[in-house]
Symmetry: C2
Subunit: 212 residues, 2 copies
């Protein structure tokens, strides 16, 4: 990963990483990224959007008519941020309360993806692995209405906090409970569309997504 002044970690640098493997794992687990850019009138904007990694590129997509897509396609530089919250960190002092998290930040300029249909396959299988084989594929009008933009994953960094609270030494003598409350994201039981035939079973590629 390219190290530049803006990807240099100044705050608590020991939690940082420029390792591709760490960055890829954080991106792959995230459904959405937070895409920041400067609007044509000079204001900051942040838009949440589905992300999918394809090798060393990060893909986003949107309607051809969207203001975000038009700004980014016009070559506006972007910053894409992704964060997973893994726990609440309860210290003995208010000051040392924290969160356990894994975050990634990428910088760069997006380019229209050459093979839109392949990109839509990547997005569909990102939502539900194996889904592409079961759905009606995009027709020419749908492909035309969609823009796919690709960001090379070259300039970025990851930051990770794990483990227990870190209190000031004298505070360990206090009679205050301290520790971590883990936070996880859970996929529940599939809710069938009301217009499905009653007899249709939940297929394996959907059923296997459920976490409980």
């Amino acid at each position: 990963m390219l190290k530049t002044p803006r990807t240099k970690l100044t705050r608590v640098p020991q939690r940082g990483s420029h390792d591709s493997e760490t960055l890829y794992a954080i991106l792959d687990e995230a459904l959405i990224g937070h895409v920041g850019f400067v609007t044509p009138t000079g204001h900051p904007a942040v838009i949440p959007t589905l992300i999918a990694r394809d090798g060393d590129e990060l893909l986003i997509h949107g309607s051809n008519a969207s203001r975000t897509v038009r700004a980014l396609r016009a070559g506006q530089e972007a910053c894409v941020e992704v964060t997973h919250i893994d726990g609440l960190v309860l210290a003995r002092s208010a000051f040392h309360h924290s969160m356990n998290y894994r975050s990634a930040i990428l910088y760069g300029t997006l380019q229209p993806a050459e093979d839109k249909e392949r990109a839509l396959e990547v997005f569909t299988n990102k939502l539900v692995p194996g889904r592409w084989e079961h759905v009606r594929w995009p027709n020419p009008q749908e492909l035309k209405a969609t823009e796919v933009l690709s960001l090379p994953i070259t300039e970025g960094s990851a930051k990770v906090r794990t483990g227990e609270p870190i209190d000031d030494e004298p505070d360990y003598a206090l009679d205050t409970w301290a520790g971590v409350i883990p936070i996880t994201t859970v996929r529940g039981d599939p809710i069938p569309d009301p217009r499905l035939p009653d007899a249709m079973d939940v297929p394996e590629h959907v059923r296997s997504l459920t976490d409980r």
Copy 2:
């Protein structure tokens, strides 16, 4: 909520809202917001950070030494985005796959908060309701090292998608499972700090956070 050109919802506007109550509920459920701004050298940046609402203001905090705090304190305009993902929406066509979500976007300029200690109480109780009464409060050095910034919640919008997939009419005849996979965030059992005395019970304000 102030309606301005940038808070006007152009894409699927029927999912949008400028209602304060809707916006407040989305902000209150979020631990972190994604703060976008333009750096002093003109580049877009997005930083994830703990947010807490105090009436009609949104608070963020950070070290006095952080680049983000310094840029925002210097009057750089910000965009704060918050998103909850509530479900994967599986349609019969790849094109109509979607997510159920609730998102909020605010715009404005942040100001240093006048009462930092009160703000830190709000943050502490945001992480764990009632926590402030149980912890060692910030000392003068800690207060000095911390900056709290406040954004008036005046210019912003919310966007919400709920419910089943919406397919093209002919696609309803396809033999493809469709529906929603709900996504929730779950707080697990508290993990005590290794340096706690063995005999210490998990207090009620912590125990009541667990979702299962």
